[in-house]
């Protein structure tokens, strides 16, 4: 094992996909109530993987809450939104989560994703949906490295490519 970074599969987290109109004040209030954070700007995450909200697309957010709170959060969003058009799905069990920690965690991801991961381009709090080798994934940067989310159906593949990438020698290009 090299010392580039450590790749660990994290336990399932509570994740809710929320789609709707970001300009709606009801949606803003519902997101704030569910996660304690405001709707983030494109390419950003507010909070962290245990209690946070990430920008997925112009009409989609990923809400992260403790696993056991998902059902009650979905119910609360339903009552907050009233008859305003929106959609929520509990995707907690559809996703796998990996944490990639270490001083050179960005090198591990840079080998697999077409993303500029220099800390000046992709800072702490940056969130990106992209391609991890051959599968779709999303990740964000935090104090100690990255958290990465992908579909659980491809979790073994993702773990394999991440582990293999972490074995390689440091290039120092980033």
């Amino acid at each position: 094992m090299s010392d580039l970074a450590t790749v660990d599969r994290a336990p399932a987290r509570g994740m809710i996909t929320l789609r709707g109109d970001f300009t709606s004040s009801k949606l803003k209030r519902a997101v704030k109530a569910a996660t304690g954070h405001a709707v983030p700007k494109p390419g950003r995450i507010a909070g962290d993987g245990h209690k946070g909200v990430a920008w997925m697309s112009p009409d989609e957010l990923l809400l992260m809450v403790p696993y056991e709170d998902v059902a009650s959060t979905v119910d609360n969003i339903a009552s907050d939104m009233g008859d305003t058009h929106y959609l929520t799905v509990d995707v907690s069990d559809a996703r796998a989560v990996f944490s990639i920690t270490g001083p050179d965690a960005n090198e591990v991801l840079a080998r697999l994703c077409p993303v500029d991961l220099h800390k000046d381009s992709f800072a702490i709090g940056g969130f990106r949906r992209t391609r991890l080798a051959q599968v779709a994934a999303a990740f964000w940067r935090h104090d100690t490295g990255f958290d990465l989310v992908c579909f659980r159906s491809v979790a073994d593949y993702a773990e394999g490519v991440l582990q293999r990438s972490a074995l390689a020698r440091k290039t120092g290009a980033l």
């Binding site: 494109p42 390419g43 697309s57 112009p58 077409p114 500029d116 949906r129 992209t130």
Partner: protein, 109 residues
């Protein structure tokens, strides 16, 4: 490698994160249209050696469709813009005409 800026995410997305969707700004003709119009909508496409207007989907990212003005010969990109429009924005047309005087593409010039 072709790199296009996704107008929704604002990220520089490379070709492997995108899916090409063919020609942009097609006018749809339905069941009551003439045979010529329907044939044109289904089959007749621009194929310029030069600046082309194309549809792309940010398939590994936000999943949204957008349009790009791109030179098929030099791969120079003149800009990308959201797909909810019937015509390219003025500044993109001006940028193209600055570099390619006399450019025209279907009804746009």
């Amino acid at each position: 490698m072709l790199i296009l800026e996704c107008p929704y995410c604002g990220v520089q997305a490379d070709e492997t994160e995108l899916h090409a969707g063919g020609e942009a700004h097609l006018k749809r003709f339905g069941p009551d249209s003439s045979e010529e119009d329907f044939e044109g909508y289904l089959f007749v496409r621009e194929n310029p050696k030069g600046v082309h207007l194309e549809r792309w989907r940010h398939s590994a990212g936000c999943g949204k469709w957008f349009h790009a003005a791109r030179c098929t010969m030099t791969l120079e990109v003149f800009g990308t813009y959201p797909a909810q429009t019937l015509a390219p924005p003025k500044y993109i047309i001006e940028r193209i005409k600055d570099k390619r005087p006399g450019w025209s593409w279907r009804n746009f010039s």
